[in-house]
């Protein structure tokens, strides 16, 4: 589904990713772990097409298409979802309106009919329920006045509504208390653990992986993947620390 080969990327002319390769197939959940500054968030933004993240070498192919050649909204329509580490507050723009317009823009790009207001609300209610989020919060301006945990929950509701093929979740577990972590973990499993979908979880800690069992774990250090393994690698990292493994 996603093939990254020898990816190099700069942020403000500073090289951050230095030859990263990774292959993710449908039905798989991958976790990327690594110390601060390793390039985890840069990887998610490069794949999500954030302006200012400049690819200098290598390729990323998503479902046979050149991902790096697509604009952010085209990547979304192709089935990519980026869960933000710091979801953005947008005063005045209601969640519901924003999501309905986004979903319908994606559907239009795929040649599908737009979803009616009623059908959209039904869908939104179902996904909000899955993440135990109050419908009233969905009607409020995007993330404005939300706690850290509520913002992350909102990201997962958005993911449920937009129904992507591939979700890249950048530290979705940070800022969550134990109960919210379980809810979000259950949400990821319910929405994304399917034979035709895949997930790339970016995290510092083992915690989230207790709820969302990865098939593969990778260690990212200094802009490259330095070690890959099964779920046991995450436990090893937790025990030994990054310094030992990444060295």
């Amino acid at each position: 589904m996603l093939t990254i080969e020898n990816l190099h990327a700069n942020v403000a002319d500073k090289p951050i990713l230095k030859g990263l390769s990774l292959s993710i197939n449908a039905g798989e959940i991958h976790a990327i772990m690594g110390p601060n500054g390793a390039g985890k968030s840069t990887l998610s933004y490069v794949l999500g097409g954030r302006p200012g993240y400049e690819v200098t070498e290598g390729s990323a192919t998503f479902d046979g298409q050149d991902l790096l050649d697509m604009d952010p909204h085209e990547r979304a329509a192709a089935g990519l979802f980026l869960g933000f580490q710091y979801p953005v507050e947008i005063p005045g723009v209601s969640n519901v309106q924003f999501l309905r317009e986004s979903l319908n823009a994606q559907r239009k790009a795929r040649g599908q009919e737009p979803l009616s207001g009623g059908d959209f609300l039904k869908l939104a209610r179902e996904k909000a329920g899955l993440l135990k989020m109050d419908m009233d919060m969905l009607k409020r301006p995007v993330n404005v006045g939300f706690s850290g945990g509520e913002k992350k929950r909102n990201e997962m509701v958005q993911m449920g509504i937009l129904d992507p093929k591939l979700a890249i979740l950048d530290e979705t577990d940070s800022g969550l208390d134990i109960d919210a972590l379980r809810t979000v973990g259950d949400g990821i499993n319910a929405i994304m653990r399917r034979p035709d979908k895949a997930v790339l979880l970016i995290t510092h800690y083992q915690r989230l992986l207790d709820y969302v069992q990865p098939d593969f774990v990778h260690v990212l250090a200094a802009g490259r993947i330095v070690k890959s393994g099964g779920p046991e690698l995450a436990l090893e990292l937790e025990r030994e620390g990054y310094a030992e493994i990444a060295a």
Binding site: D71, H73, R75, A76, V88, G92, V93, L99, P141
Partner: protein, 243 residues
Amino acid sequence: MTISALPSRRDEAWRYSDIDAVTAAWPLPAPESIIVPAGGDFKRAIVQDAGEIRQIELVLGKGATASLHVLNIGGAYGRIELAVTLHEGADFNLGAAQIGGGEQNLEIVTTVTHAEPGATSRQVVRSVLGGTATGTYLGKVAVARDAQQTDSEQDVKAMLLDRSATANAKPELEIFADDVKCAHGCAIGELDAMALYYLQSRGLPPGEAKKLMLQAFVAGVFDGAEDEEQLQALALAKLGELV
């Protein structure tokens, strides 16, 4: 405000104006005069979409209320000028948006005089400017010597879509009383790049993402207008032309 001589850029109230357009329109017809009697209530929506100079003199009698909603969007040069006089306990409310692109020059110029005690005025002005357009708000609040308990507010914001656009904003206070509340705030900025990226990452094309944020930016100025929906629709259509 009746001016007999052709103004020049040396006149503060015409400093940013398109003097050629003013000259062509000179002499201006007498300002429209609206008098709201004591206890009366007045509402008006003004859509400037043809490139005119509109001058209105509004007098609110004791305890009268008036609510004006202005959408300034049309023509190469469009100017809306309001001279408002408030008598005791009157309440004046202005919600205005000016949206311009290309080489448009749009202006809203207000003078709100609190002539007597206890009157309130509130002005909310939002400008959205692209291309090499210029948008100007000059707003003077004048409080007479015995107009105690005046409560006035000016809330002025402009959004520049291109670095080549210009916003001028000058809230101005002239206060002779000593027990008044006169709030004024002014901000000029650009759309938040991270917010735009966030919206696009969910599938909105760049133009739609900008339109959504701009809609939120001007939303609210038409609250309570009689033809609120029509004003919103006109504003949205104009925003759609700019993004």
